[in-house]
């Protein structure tokens, strides 16, 4: 009886061990985890900049070409950027023809990854083909790139526009996140760049 109990405890331990050592696969991590990467120009003096204009559409670039993301999806992103910029003392201009110090554009790069998997065993002889069927699957993820361009030193003729600050958010706009998660990631991009402010 005690021997059986010993084996039972050990068996339960095995099951517990196996069940608690799994990590989400790469595809899930890319879809569900938001990674916020920011970089600012360390030589920029942000108090020298006052006004900005933000394009109210988000361009999606994928293998299929470029298109515009619908307003319902893009609007929370744009609004979150505006909220943060205004809170940091910058002044929004809504007329595209206005002369402003900075312009903000959001571009979404979509990427679809196709991968294969097989439940079978590989053969012991060259050329190591799997015995069982190979399955195909895919996941779509991407990067939302927010760029803050310096229009005070931009050389429009030569298409040279310095970037003061950029934020890349991996996993955004994949459809896996709530609006609060999306706007939260925008907020995070600003939080981790305290230098981007006129409020000194």
């Amino acid at each position: 009886m005690k021997t059986k109990l010993g084996f039972l405890i050990l068996g339960l331990g095995l099951v517990f061990t196996i069940s608690c050592t799994k990590y989400p696969p790469e595809s899930d991590r890319l879809l569900e985890d938001l990674a916020v990467m920011t970089q600012y120009d360390t030589k920029a003096v942000f108090t020298d900049y006052k006004s900005y204009y933000i394009y109210d559409t988000i361009t999606k670039i994928s293998d299929a070409g470029a298109s515009t993301i619908n307003t319902a999806t893009s609007s929370p992103v744009i609004q979150a950027i505006v909220k943060n910029m205004n809170a940091r003392g910058f002044e929004q201009h809504t007329n595209v023809t206005d002369k402003v110090d900075m312009r903000i554009r959001v571009v979404y790069y979509q990427n679809t990854t196709v991968y294969t998997y097989s439940y079978g065993w590989y053969g012991g002889y060259y050329p190591y083909y799997p015995y069982y069927p190979v399955y195909y699957s895919s996941y779509t993820t991407g990067l939302a790139d927010i760029e803050l361009a310096d229009m005070t030193t931009a050389n429009i003729v030569n298409n040279q526009v310095p970037i003061l600050w950029s934020a890349g958010i991996r996993g955004l706009l994949t459809g896996s996140h709530s609006t609060s998660e999306i706007t939260g990631s925008i907020d995070q991009a600003f939080i981790q760049t305290p230098q981007l402010t006129r409020n000194k």
């Binding site: 050592t21 990590y23 790469e26 991590r29 890319l30 985890d33 990674a35 920011t38 981790q192």
Partner: protein
């Protein structure tokens, strides 16, 4: 830490008490020549290691063999497999001189394979409950992983380890080849973690082992 010691002590005492009621002389009926153990191992990280992964982890196993040399003195080996892991939400890494900051959920885990030579002394090896003390000396293979999105940054290391242990072998009955093993050890290693913005050296941990033993006459 105190709780663990209290639980361990209570377990050993209760096991001995239960056995004493079944068989008053508390004698095994034979003197073992060797025994083999297979136990479920729970690790509690300490010090720098605890800053890397703070969670206790029950994901581990240990196998061992002991061969009696003289009276209670025995020598043997231990091989284990253990994994400790933790998910950290919204950690921010910065590279200030380049103006870079990265915020992401990250998964950290370390898996280790210790292999040690052991010298041990069993008190009352012929009794139903046989407490022991041991010292394991050997090596540790460890893999430290930091996973962020599709990136898996990892380093592997082979290092020295030292493991003093106290425990007890609790036989299931007279002339029974099987018994339970309960043990508690402290492990010190020269292993270290050197991943971005995280440096830990001389990794230390406590381990609680609960398992079964096969006793050879």
């Amino acid at each position: 830490m105190k709780k663990i010691i209290i639980i361990l002590t209570a377990f050993v005492c209760l096991a001995g008490l239960a056995q004493a009621q079944d068989t008053p002389p508390s004698s095994l009926g034979f003197t073992p020549k060797s025994y083999y153990t297979f136990s479920w191992n729970t690790t509690f990280t300490m010090g720098d290691f605890n800053k890397w992964v703070g969670n206790a982890s029950p994901a581990g196993f240990d196998m061992g063999g002991r061969y009696f040399v003289k009276n209670g003195l025995n020598v043997g080996w231990n091989i284990s497999w253990q994994r400790v892991s933790q998910i950290y939400d919204n950690e921010t890494y910065t590279i200030p001189d380049k103006g870079i900051a990265i915020n992401a959920e990250n998964y950290r885990f370390t898996w280790m394979v210790p292999f040690q030579a052991v010298v041990a002394y069993n008190l009352m090896p012929e009794k139903m409950v046989s407490p022991y003390v041991s010292l394991g000396i050997g090596g540790d293979y460890m893999e430290h992983h930091l996973m962020i999105q599709e990136y898996d940054i990892y380093k592997t290391r082979w290092d020295f380890s030292l493991t003093p242990e106290v425990g007890a072998l609790v036989k299931f009955g007279n002339f029974n080849q099987w018994g339970a093993l309960v043990a508690f050890n402290y492990k010190w290693t020269t292993n270290k973690i050197e991943l971005y913005e995280t440096t830990s050296k001389n990794l230390q941990m406590l381990n609680l082992k609960v398992g079964i033993a096969m006793i050879i006459r």
